[in-house]
Symmetry: C2
Subunit: 198 residues, 2 copies
DNA sequence: GTCTTAAATGATTCACAATTCAATATTACC
DNA sequence: GGTAATATTGAATTGTGAATCATTTAAGAC
């Protein structure tokens, strides 16, 4: 019997990330993914049952890793909510630092998948939102966060801002140093743009 | 000779907005748009030369209106930068209040169009970003806005947050009253979540 | 009422790319 | 080095839905 050589399963996923990032899901052809992966078109179907299956796999991998790390942060009792907020931002950026193309796919295709309720994306995303909400609620209870602000709304706003910056960074990683982005987001989310005279 | 009856050109655009909002651009069939517009499939092609032509027309209409209104705000000399920031937010939300479906299409499909550089979307969007940047710069110069914050970054962050909230609102207009959203965004962008003891 | 001309129709055509599968190559084991 | 079992290939198939166009409908002119 013959053994599978190399790791085509992984090669295909990595190729797909690159191709999806460059052209978007719908404009990406399986034949192109196969070419980039160094594999015949038909071989893609030995590992994945459809094109959709590939994106879903990509999102599963990303979210699996993210949710595990995020879980650990929320549960810590030695961190104040402000620091937890910072940690979430760090986790997100760290996850994508090694692979900007993955960030682009993540940001660009997630809405489609959420809308179509395909795979586990909805479940994972809701989990993430709940977790963020929990941290914010904790901050309000401890009297650190502003009670005038609607928690859900703040959460959605910051999440949206994060996505946008992740995207910008991923498109031109050299131009926007990641550390500057992190620092700024953390500051803006907490203090806004106005100068506060204390 | 026969005259065009009703206004099928508009009916098709409006149908397309509804169908795109519900299913996303790629999942939307011309035949469905035609059905919703109360028109035969072939008739769509009397008014638009392709499916893509329809989305581009939708974005042209939206951006044309937006950019005109936004221009007027920036040019005013009787408004401080903080108020101008508020006005931008108002203009965006007001534009979509009457038509949540349009907001959904706007938020969901814009990235695709930007990436493919189709139509005028890139031009309009860049114009919008420049304009926002101008206001922020003005605020910094006048000593109202925080100099520690990277202007571009703040602009992208807030833009992303706005998009996210616009989307959330459009999906369930009853649940999130628009006025609450506006108030909160304005406050958050300026003050962040932390309580500031003055 | 008939004629001319443009508008409208929707079944048919066509293009594209996802998926399949018969043929071929590779490996392990004897 | 022969054979069985499995992996790989890429040309052929297939499904889908965008776009076309021969035909029908109807408005306005006379």
């Amino acid at each position: 019997m013959r053994k599978k050589e190399g790791n085509k399963e992984t090669a295909i996923i990595e190729a797909a990330v690159r191709v999806f990032a460059e052209n978007g899901y719908h404009q990406s052809k399986i034949s192109k993914i196969a070419e980039v992966a160094g594999v015949a078109t038909g071989s893609v179907y030995l590992y994945y049952k459809s094109k959709e299956d590939i994106v879903l796999k990509i999102f599963d991998l990303v979210w699996m890793k993210l949710s595990k790390e995020l879980q650990q942060v929320v549960q810590r009792t030695d961190m104040d909510p402000g620091t937890k907020l910072d940690s979430i931002i760090d986790i997100l950026f760290d996850s994508f630092t090694v692979n900007p193309a993955l960030a682009i796919v993540f940001v660009n295709e997630q809405n489609q998948l959420l809308q179509q309720e395909k795979g586990n994306v909805v479940k994972f995303y809701k989990g993430f939102l709940d977790l963020a909400e929990e941290i914010l609620r904790e901050g309000v209870e401890k009297g650190i966060f502003n009670t005038n602000i609607d928690i859900r709304l703040f959460r959605d706003f910051v999440t949206g801002g994060l996505r946008a910056l992740l995207h910008e960074w991923a498109r031109r990683p050299e131009e926007y140093p990641l550390n500057r982005i992190r620092q700024n987001i953390k500051y803006i989310a907490k203090n806004g743009i106005l100068i506060h005279h204390t």
